[in-house]
Amino acid sequence: MWVYEKKLQYPVRIKNPNPKMAKYIITQYGGPDGELAASLRYLSQRYHMPIPEAKAVLNDIGTSLTKLLI
């Protein structure tokens, strides 16, 4: 279960808005091969892990990636 945190993991200030770059970045985030899709894959793959170490790694990477995005 997720808990929303009312802060940014890493704040950035956009000095020079760049629509082309913005489009590229949003694709890296939410696109078919982006971070969001990857994090959900990790969270599905964790169900198939045979050992505690691997379950924890996939669970935690899947959750920390989503925290980065939201």
Partner: protein, 95 residues
């Protein structure tokens, strides 16, 4: 206390929380595959304690960082107070 100064303090406290959170996330991930590393575990607990104290301080001064029963709120319900992370421009100056 003027606004710029208060924003500065808030930003600095958040900066510290972020830095320590980074330590706890990384140590957590390392410990997942090295659960018997006592030194790493001690470090994890050390930074976790620091993080808990800093979050408490932040929440007392600026309101809850989390909701759904993970943080207390003063009256009136402070969770709805602005700015939200995607709005906070004024205390992000210089980052």
């Amino acid at each position: 206390m003027n606004h710029a100064h208060a924003d500065n303090e808030r930003r600095e406290l958040l900066e510290q929380i972020r830095a320590i959170e980074f330590m706890t996330i990384d140590l957590n991930l390392y410990l997942n595959t090295h659960p018997n590393d006592r030194r790493a575990l001690n470090e994890y607990n050390y930074y976790t304690r620091q993080l808990q104290a800093l979050r408490r301080e932040y929440e007392m001064r600026y309101g809850p960082l989390t909701n759904f029963g993970y943080s207390l709120s003063q009256y009136p319900w402070a969770w709805i107070n602005e700015p939200w992370p995607w709005e906070e421009d004024h205390y992000m100056e210089g980052c």
